[in-house]
Symmetry: D2
Subunit: 343 residues, 4 copies
């Protein structure tokens, strides 16, 4: 039984972390903090926890007061906020799973270019492990600092990495559709129901911060430079990301050969679900779960790879718990086996 | 051709007023103001007007600067803001259609009790006309100041007034379902898509400010005191109000007798649509129109009256234009004949 | 470990039963049948079970072939279909939880009047127990035949029964809002997305078959005749029922007195959640759970009782499992403790 | 004033045709037929026309009985049904606007390959004009037979044709999102609300029948072979198509040069709205209108073109009326100038 803390517990990913950890037999939540007014019971902010988890959410004061109470901390804070918390927690011997983008990149330059902030602790970028278990399982097991992947990058890297590893690819065109919870629990005029219902739009075309994250990871997987163009779209669902990738192959390749690579790559993965020809991923099949569905269609020299995840689970809090399970040597699926509530 | 102004043009009712007035052959919009930062083109705030209506929305400065440009002004401002604008416009000879609640009540006391604000111009409460054409058509024709009805009250008064006029009723229990645009174009955390989709809830149970407005109007219609209990609910649609009323009759009454009263009352009304037995109102049949659908079911001594309106049209901006048409002696339906865009 | 069967496994309630039973430590699903074409894997019909529950759904042949395999059977079939299955299963010593309406009434006459079918086994109506644990827990523990309550009646009876037991009530006016899954997994033109999105409507006003079920149960609870008028509405959500009841009291009564009765009634109930003044039930707080939220507002001689349930869980399959737990002496909450997936 | 008929009036495109024609000053609807049971009033099938258009919809009998009553006929029937109607109407001197796919292709072979049906009147394929006014305005003015474009192809061809005409392109990768009305007014289990809400999925990946239609038209525009890969997705909105295209340029090209081509191409087009850099098309800006919004982003040798249309208007019935306006020499925008109902 370990003691865990959540910093930034009042966002959607924070709430999902709580829900998942409450179902986890090996952990206790011993610290729950956020930038809030004093004295807000957690189940007042999130009434769906009423009667199940009626603790107080505390005002965040400093790292020290939390570090005393926990073995591991989840940082569910906006980027830049995690920058200085991470080394402070590590210095006190606390393991850190950082859901922000602050330690995701190997390259401080890329971070600084896309996030517009000086990276004050770039020495930790080498120490951190990018928390995508399907790619970095062994390193995660020994890590003290996990940079939990972005939601869009998770949907892209899981879908494209087997292919780029085959050496057939130099560019990935990414079309993603995201539910509104991806924008966070934020009082923003553009997110209110009448603005979203019945609407569809692309945003930050080829300029979203997750684009360089995809590119860095796919390039590492390929062992060569992979260019990524990423076009995210906002669609009227609450949860989920559906990603459709258009990937040129440097020569026409038989689908069986490619599919064989996917099957081999993912044959023992508990959370990756490969779909046979004729089926395509659907949000409702992964919603509320830590799964990633993947299908691959090949037309001559073009591969079309489609993936679906729940942005708040495999795209954030579920993956964070999967990483924790690995760090502590527990069953990787502990606390993470859900069947979708359907319809 | 008259000149009209809209004060508070950047809310949903303001935008709908613009849309309707642009389709109106007798008016020009000569003033468009709101509490905004300087220099925001209207079609930047509301891109659906791009290419159709690319004027500037002006920063509201004072009544004088608007009064110079208009014959009639629509006030689409929050309650209390209209309180002092109204007499200022009237003093300059400008006709006023006030979409706020500030002049709706006959009784300053009730206003003050429910809106928590001293009514500084109660002498105008007698002068104003409550802008429900189906009840006050003749007075509206001669009015200078229209208090445009609330959205919920419109759905209730049109549905219940024929019945209360029959002298059979002393209390009306109102259950209303409202689309989210009824809460205004407001950056409120409780209104963002993930909070609304898939959810239903009652709010301000028997304590909503529209309750006394319903009671005052139904009591006037009945010529006796009518008690109203009003329970509004928020549901995941953008536009529309569906109201179901439970009305005890002081004696069992034949449905035909009641229905005859409705048919007589509304036989020449262009915007009231009575539905035969077996059909009930639907939002999609009135959305985008100035219509009010009504059905009546009678079980012994209980009448169940159901109505549907578009909250932004018959519940606000369309009704305002209908009032303007009457004030100027134009065809009452001018600019207001729309067929719903279906599905 | 008992063996259970589901007859009619391809509807939404059937699928929810499977999901809940898969999470239940005391049972195995040993029979899964429906009226389907031969050879349809269950996870083809419901892909959200893929990889989790990949058994075959069998073509329903006869009671005998199922009875050999199970200790208890859930009937998730349309009304009238259960009529003759029930005695056949009972005759073979199989316990039955019938989710249809066929055995819900004490009175065969009422059933025959509202369902238009001769009740061929009315002798069993006395033997059956109406499966609402909060009212009939002790009887359920000893029952062989459970008539699982209707979804709307569950939301009504849990909300109104404490009040009618106080002897203050003779009539309950019910306004319910239901998600579309309540209409079943049916290819019906009126249920397709473009017809439902953005729409609201009442249907079967004061003529829905659940009305007499509510009346019978509330009358039994009161020990006197309670009249019920029920107006269901279809709203654009997938799951959930929100019920608002308007209940006249035969004398003005203090809210505290009434609330005390609710607190006493439900103080040990694991699935009833009473909300303090100022809070009202919300679908999102009960969706995916077996909970029923209840709030009560009193205005003089009128009580407004609001409830929320998940129609497929507390309104159907969850309640069925709760009944099973009682029948076998297990913890009543076994397999039923879920936190809503939010948002 | 011409007389028009609609064959297949009970689908969504048929209903939209009626709505648009009722707003059109130059036409009368003199025939309204469908494969229906006898005696169904049109406003019973589509209650939103109640009180506005209460004619009878007739049972379709034969071409002759319709031809007597009309000058022009709109065929809103499934593909293959129009195949033989078209020559019959033409033979009687009736102008035809065919909304089906039967006469869209120049090549009978492609039609036969993708629609699985022998083309029995391939001689008319040369005579017909593909009814996209922005490309074929002059021919449309003189045509007797219009093959009205598919909804997806409209969104693609308007977006990509200026670019392919520049000679920079050999392949267009198309990612489209469609509202559910695109699947027709059909009682299909996969289209009911609980299956669609909250879900996203791709379907008919690179195998949808609109793919060869896009390819044929873009190839004709380019004067060279253009390959199209098309991935449609179903998303939870009722109306609208958002298309995002990924188009490799055969050399890095300055955005200004490309944008200049778009501006020149569309400078006088009443229904094409080019969006400046930084803005992207949105369904809500075109819903209920005949508009097509277009934006173009260029990254080195990749152009990303995004378009939005209302699938039932610019993608079907509105475009049909635009074609009719051209055929009769009326103002091209007659009956087609709508402002979106927002939000």
């Amino acid at each position: 039984m370990i003691k865990t803390g959540i910093v930034g517990a009042t966002g959607y990913t924070g709430a999902e972390l709580v829900r998942i950890l409450l179902n986890h037999p090996q952990v206790k939540i011993t610290s729950l903090t956020a930038k809030i007014e004093k004295g807000q019971p957690f189940s007042k902010i999130f009434p769906h926890f009423k009667g199940v988890f009626d603790v107080q959410c505390e005002v965040f004061e400093n790292v020290e007061s939390i570090a005393k109470k926990v073995d591991l901390v989840f940082l569910a804070v906006p980027h830049t906020v995690a920058l200085k918390f991470v080394p402070e927690f590590l210095a006190k011997g606390i393991k850190v799973i950082d859901l922000s983008a602050d330690y995701r990149f190997d390259s401080a330059e890329i971070y600084e270019e896309w996030y517009g902030t000086k990276h004050t602790h770039s020495e930790l970028l080498k120490k951190k492990v990018y928390g995508l278990p399907e790619l970095y399982r062994d390193k995660i097991k020994k890590a003290d600092l996990i940079a939990n992947p972005g939601c869009y990058p998770t949907s892209v890297i899981l879908g494209a990495s087997p292919l780029v590893k085959m050496g057939l690819v130099s560019e990935v065109l990414v079309n993603s559709l995201s539910g509104v919870s991806g924008a966070g629990r934020t009082a923003d005029l553009s997110l209110i129901f009448p603005e979203i219902e019945g609407n569809l739009k692309a945003y930050k075309v080829a300029s979203h911060r997750h684009q360089p994250e995809m590119a860095e990871q796919l390039s590492k997987a390929a062992g060569s430079n992979i260019k990524v163009i990423f076009v995210p779209h906002l669609v009227p669902i609450s949860r989920g990301i559906l990603t459709t990738m258009y990937i040129k192959l440097n020569k026409p390749t038989d689908r069986n050969k490619i599919w064989g690579k996917y099957q081999e790559t993912y044959k023992n993965e508990p959370f990756v679900q490969l779909l046979p020809e004729g089926e395509t991923p659907q949000i409702k099949m992964v919603r509320g779960t830590n799964k990633c569905q993947i299908s691959v269609i090949v037309k001559d020299d073009l591969a079309i790879v489609i993936t679906a995840i729940d942005n708040l689970i495999k795209g954030a809090s579920g993956q964070a718990v999967q990483n924790m399970n690995l760090m502590y040597g527990w069953d990787e699926t502990e606390g993470l086996l859900y069947i979708p509530v359907y319809p």
